[in-house]
Amino acid sequence: MTALAEGVAGAGGVAPATPIRSGRRGGGGWRFAVLGLLGLYFLVPIAASVWFTVRNRGTGEFTAEHYTGIPGADGFAESFTRSLVLAGLTVLIALALMVPTVVLVDLRLPRLRTTVELLTLMPLVVPPIALVVGVRSVLSWAPDYFLGTPLAEVFFAIQEPDLPWILVFAYVVLALPFVYRALDSGVRGADLRTLTEAARNLGASWPRVLVSVVLPVLRTSVLNAAFLTLALVLGEFTFANILGFETFPTWILRISGSAPQLSVAVSVLSLVVTWMLLLMISALDRRRGTKESA
């Protein structure tokens, strides 16, 4: 979750045109010290992880076997596919839930804005482990109180280990802050009111407006939200671990005992994947930025 809180801030990280103040005064020695020290701190673990995985400690030879061995590793395909499917479903549900809400709030119900905003920010504040304990308590109602009712069947169905829907539902909640922020900034940037009114005047129905006008306008925000959610779900550990499902991160932890180098190799790879996902977001941001200024 920690990983996530930050995504919100990260998504909006746009560089200003000019530095607040060019260093006229000199005395900038501390700057290099800070940059050097922190640069070292951030680079060494990454470099060491790569070194750890490509060098055979016994013979000193270099090998890529730990990377080439990932796809065939026991349980990898299964857990990674599951995480991908969970991520895809989470993105779909989160967008289906939030796009109409954000658009409606912006166009017709501005007085609900504060409430919606506060609710979507809550998952950032509530520790995920506390939330998952609550979810577990609710799930335990099925055997305790509802046994034999259709509701219990539903409760059991969403806890199917092959495709645990309960994780999807929970991840949608965890993704709310990022999805809302991304969509909200998109809605504020575009003049949705004029566009939708024009479409309505020309006789388009509301669903048609949503699909043909709103979605294309919000394309960048929707993609932005989707990528952040994807990164979130692929790295989420707390819910899966406490509820006892095997996803990609819990798999890494499980194999770490028997295959330490493989687990580090997978970690390096997942850093690269996060990196690419977020680079795509910033590339999208930049493209939007240049389009607007042009």
């Binding site: 979750m1 990983a3 809180a5 990260g10 700057r31 400690r57 308590s137 335990s140």
Partner: protein
């Protein structure tokens, strides 16, 4: 009326999957199961239990770790942010640091733990290097301790600080500095009387965010130290996975409720700080 219905799915969803679980915590933390008859009653036993012994130590451990890492990352992150903003040919450097911050702030959890294990774990590359060259290894330092955890937490907290504080730094108007310069103020006087007071609320707010983030962290700690370091998140996981102790489930709920209360208090303070910030930066 019909348009209001359009937001119903959202509110329903949040009610079922966010508010209900938290509410359930608030209620069931006050329930107890009789070890013999398995009958449930109202009780404050769990709440009493978590305020003492190993659980009290866990709360204190978590608070200590989050406080230290939050303050350290706030200082380091602020220094880094100021350094890149004031860089002379800074555009490339700034873009690089900001992008890296965005990525590294998201690089938490399990992979981060393994990156550090590979570096300064007992079999780590740096550990081995120090052992081979100096023959001392890491000295008395152990990654699998509170200090080790703190070192790892900085890895995602410092970038988070950079990301959250940059907007506040950018809001410091150059004119203020120029005015201070023209009036003959020294660099120290500028920061003491102008920059510092303006920056204080956002820096405090960002520190709160780091604190909450470190306080809630579970995956990294789980992968690194199992349950050998006293932390609330690890204690909760322990309580839930215990099939031996009757009522451990309720204990877990009480511990989780305690976390929500702690974070709630911190956030109330954060909201207050934020209101003061708006006054300055509006």
């Amino acid at each position: 009326m019909l348009t209001a219905l359009g937001t119903a799915p959202f509110f329903l969803y949040v009610a079922v999957f966010l508010l209900l679980p938290i509410g359930v915590l608030g209620v069931e933390a006050f329930r107890a199961t009789d070890p013999v008859t398995f009958e449930e009653t109202w009780s404050t036993d769990s709440i009493t239990t978590i305020t003492g012994g190993v659980y009290r130590r866990a709360y204190l451990g978590s608070l200590q770790l989050s406080l230290i890492t939050a303050v350290l990352s706030a200082v380091l992150g602020l220094a880094l942010a100021v350094a890149i903003l004031r860089a002379r040919r800074g555009l490339l450097l700034r873009r690089l640091v900001l992008t890296a911050s965005g990525v590294l702030a998201n690089f938490g959890g399990i992979p981060l733990a393994f990156a550090f294990i590979a570096t300064i774990g007992s079999q780590g590359v740096v550990t081995a290097m120090l052992q081979d060259t100096l023959g001392i290894g890491l000295g008395g330092f152990s990654l699998y301790s509170m200090t080790g955890l703190a070192l790892v937490y900085l890895y995602f907290l410092v970038p988070l600080m950079v990301l959250t504080i940059i907007p506040a730094l950018e809001a410091l108007r150059p004119q203020w500095r120029e005015a201070a310069d023209n009036l003959g103020a020294s660099s120290w006087q500028y920061w003491r009387h102008v920059g510092g007071p303006v920056l204080l609320p956002p820096v405090l707010g960002a520190t709160m965010l780091l604190f909450a983030s470190a306080f809630a962290a579970y995956a990294t700690a789980k992968a690194l130290v199992g349950s050998s370091v006293p932390l609330v998140t690890l204690q909760i996981a322990d309580a839930l996975s215990s099939n031996v102790v009757v009522g451990a489930e309720n204990l877990g709920k009480a511990l989780a409720l305690g976390m929500v209360v702690v974070v709630g208090l911190v956030m109330a303070f954060y909201a207050w700080v934020q209101r003061r910030t708006q006054r300055w930066l509006a």
